[in-house]
Amino acid sequence: MVGVVSYGAYVPRWRLSKELLRRGLKGEKAVAGPDEDSLTMGVAAALDCLKGLDRSSVDALFFASTTSPFKEKGAASMIAAALDLRRDVATADFGGTLRAGTTALKSALDAVKAGSARNVLVVSADCRLAAPGSAFELSLGDGAAALLVGSEGVVAEYVGGFFVADEIYDVWRRDVDLYVQSWEERFIYTQGYLRVLSEAINGLFKKLSVAPSDVGKAAIYAPDARRAVELARAVGMDPAKQLLDPMLDSIGCTGAAHALMLFTASLEEASPGSKMLIASYGNGGDALLFAVKEGVEKLKASRRGVRGHLAVKRPVPDYVTYLRWRGLISLPEPRVPMAVSYPSASAMWRERDRIYPLYASKCKRCGTVQYPVLGPSHRVCVKCKAKDEFEKVRLSDKRGKLFSFSYDFLRGVPIGLVNMEGGGRVFLELTDVDVRELKVGMDVELVFRRLELWRSDGIYGYFWKAAPA
């Protein structure tokens, strides 16, 4: 039996009220914070998915996004590093199309079925940029989902899939474009989304001899709520009963991750025996059918999932803040005469173990856990002075307590010393928190985030920050 073994999701806690975009509009959308991108959201969803599981059992990691922070550089490899997966893990970056999420899922299922991998982690995230004032700005949201595909402990068995390729300019972004573009609305829905996804879903039903009414819930990529309802009707389903709410007024359309997030949300509520349809669109259509198995309810307790994340939210204060976070308004860089110091690729590489999985050093002689401050030269124990007698301890999956904190208006970033469970102290930026809520002793967890380094520099730094647990 091949299928989904575990799931996880991530929705940034920042919500942009649509009222800020158009007066009188209801609803909100989830937007990545200033230190988040598709890669960091992907890591968060993957951590949710891997909770309590043996990370060394993951043989492959597929990352699917149309908004990887890199046009050329593997995001999957960095995610694998942050997740502390095995060195001999196969990684692949799926991109280019909004179907990337379901295509990565299909590839994972095929790989497990073929026996080339036991467990494949599929991570999908998107953070698409809409032109200010455009219709896309109302509909696009940010988020991520992660599915662990395997053959043991399956909670949603893969029944089969049907895939269609289609050439059309309906929604696209060229290599030089900042914003998502589209052709006129009637054309893109009637000749693109509705026509092609109907073809894929009908093809699936026919191939598997499944009646539309057999589907318990349908998790369908939805750029627009009304069009998703039309589509469900067109393929013979009852939208009110079978179509999963595409969450366009709470999260938004999350691109390549959308169908996987909806699928995750449906697994959070699923009971064994029901059938789940997952379908995604983008220059073609992917439709996959799953059968929910025993054990699905057990996962719910330990996964934050889409719903857990939806419950925690903070409003983006205003539209200008949103534009600043997306880099659409830029303030002049601070003039710092103390010599500008750019991150060094060779130093990042040398220190990769203590940066990405956040390994601390535990002294074999005296047991002191110490996070290598300024990493490269941590050779001598701070307490007993033993040299080169350390073992590695991963801190990124541990919780901590805030030992002290501060916030200054010059840099505008709260910072704090965090004492980690099991020992060790790390000096971290604090994120996703209102500075007024900071308290000595509060529980924090670690989140992987993009750093605000020098904007003009060619390197994005990534590191862990502390957020309220």
């Binding site: 601070p334 003039r335 710092v336 005469p337 103390m338 010599a339 500008v340 110091s341 750019y342 991150p343 060094s344 060779s346 130093a347 990042m348 040398r350 220190e351 940066i355 002191t368 856990v369 110490q370 996070y371 401050v373 300024l374 990493g375 490269p376 701070v382 307490k383 030992f403 002290s404 904190f405 501060s406 916030y407 200054d408 208006f409 010059l410 840099r411 970033v413 910072i415 704090g416 010393l417 004492n419 980690m420 020992g423 060790g424 102290r425 790390v426 000096f427 971290l428 930026e429 500075v435 000595v440 750093l451 380094l453 730094g461 990534y462 590191f463």
Partner: protein
């Protein structure tokens, strides 16, 4: 006997007004401070055999000093050790005199921060240019705010009382500064003003933080034997101490962050050399590194002036005020002088030098033991510090 006690004498000192010197270059400030020191000592620039130059961003090479003063080809060492730079330069100059390498040397520290926009030491650190840059960097107020948070939490001090104690330190230093024509800020403030000021990094407000300033200070030092040829009221170096941390605040999860160990080590080193057993009783005054009011509070305890946890009570009792038991920062401190980083340590020595000579005007304290302490602290309690102390005493003390 090892050490520099009574082996080095200060015969002349100079100090510019610390200010926003828009109309002066760093070299103007250097010339003003050094020539005041030359005149005070009664030496000619050509008599100087070697020099030590302390500056963070004001000139990276020793030759910078010769360039300003047109000293003829003498050796100049540039010393940079964060906020402790001037003390470090002074201590090294003392070593050179004490060991007999030179008998008349100049130490000068200067900084021109106001030409540089807003320098944010700590956010970027030129000393560590090749690190990966993922680690949290921060401006100093945020680091010292954490010291305040920990101090108050550790001793169970309600935030209102804690902030008021800190404000009293600011009020004291502003009063002292109001009596000092060389201070940048010469205005006394009220407790209410201090408490109502805008927050810079909670719980530190505007008056808890020192300013960014331009300034220069200098000392001419020689052997005690030679000093007698120049003046009777020369000032002797009684003891020096220095300690560098190892980032223990960030490493060690049982580190309390209520004290700065480097202060403890550097002060004890200097006390030992100077023969001081009870600093609160034996010192006539102390000019310490009040980059933030919380720093001064913790210094009282680190230096053994107050028992652990008792500094707030001593502040409330007025122990460290100008007429108190042990006047601290009689010149107004960093609070009123601002902190031209490479110059501050020598500015402090200038105050002790003048106080010991009885030339401190309206700020004059009683110098019954004829001993004064100076101290600078580079770095932060969160990562680690360089603490440096120099104890000066009047001839014969």
């Amino acid at each position: 006997m090892p050490g520099v006690r009574d082996k080095v004498a200060i015969i002349g000192m100079g100090c510019t007004k610390f200010d926003e010197h828009w109309d002066k270059s760093i070299w103007d400030l250097v010339v003003d401070a050094c020539h005041e020191a030359f005149e005070d000592a009664g030496v000619e620039p050509k008599d100087i055999k070697a020099a030590w130059w302390s500056s963070i961003i004001g000139g990276y090479l020793g030759r910078s000093l010769n360039y300003a003063l047109k000293l003829d080809y003498i050796p100049v060492s540039r010393v940079e050790n964060r906020c402790a730079s001037a003390h470090d330069a002074f201590i090294n100059a003392c070593y050179a005199v004490a060991c007999g390498a030179y008998d008349l040397v100049l130490v000068c520290g200067a900084e021109k921060l106001k030409d540089a926009g807003i320098p944010i030491p700590g956010v970027v650190d030129p000393a560590e240019p090749y690190i990966s840059r993922v680690d949290t960097r921060f401006p100093p107020p945020a680091a010292y705010a954490q010291l305040a948070v920990r101090y108050f939490t550790h001793y169970g001090i309600p935030i209102e009382r804690g902030r008021e104690v800190l404000a009293r330190i600011a009020v004291k230093n502003h009063y002292n500064g109001s009596l000092n024509p060389k201070a940048q800020f010469q205005r006394a403030i009220t407790l209410e003003e201090a408490l109502k000021a805008p927050i810079v990094a909670w719980p530190l407000g505007l008056y808890d933080c020192c300013g960014i300033t331009d300034g220069a200070a200098a000392a001419v030092i020689t052997t005690p034997e030679k000093a007698r040829q120049y003046r009777d009221d020369y000032v002797l170096v009684k003891g020096v101490g220095m300690s560098c941390g190892m980032y223990q605040g960030e490493y060690v999860d049982d580190w309390s962050l209520t004290s700065i160990e480097e202060n403890v080590r550097a002060s004890r080193m200097a006390y030992r050399e100077a023969g001081i057993e009870n600093p609160r009783k034996q010192l006539d005054l102390a000019i310490v590194h009040d980059c933030f009011t919380i720093t001064e509070l913790v210094i009282y305890e680190d230096f053994g002036f107050s028992a652990r946890g008792q500094a707030p009570r001593d502040v409330e009792a007025g122990v460290y005020e100008l007429k108190g038991e042990l006047p601290v920062n009689t010149d107004g401190g960093l609070k009123c002088f601002g902190h031209p980083i490479g110059a501050s340590g020598l500015r402090m020595m200038y105050e002790v030098y003048k106080q010991l000579q009885g030339k401190a005007g309206r700020r004059q304290v009683e110098v019954k033991n004829q001993l004064g302490l100076t101290h600078t602290l580079g770095g932060t309690p969160v990562d680690s510090n360089t603490a440096a102390v120099a104890i000066l005493g009047l001839r014969g003390a």
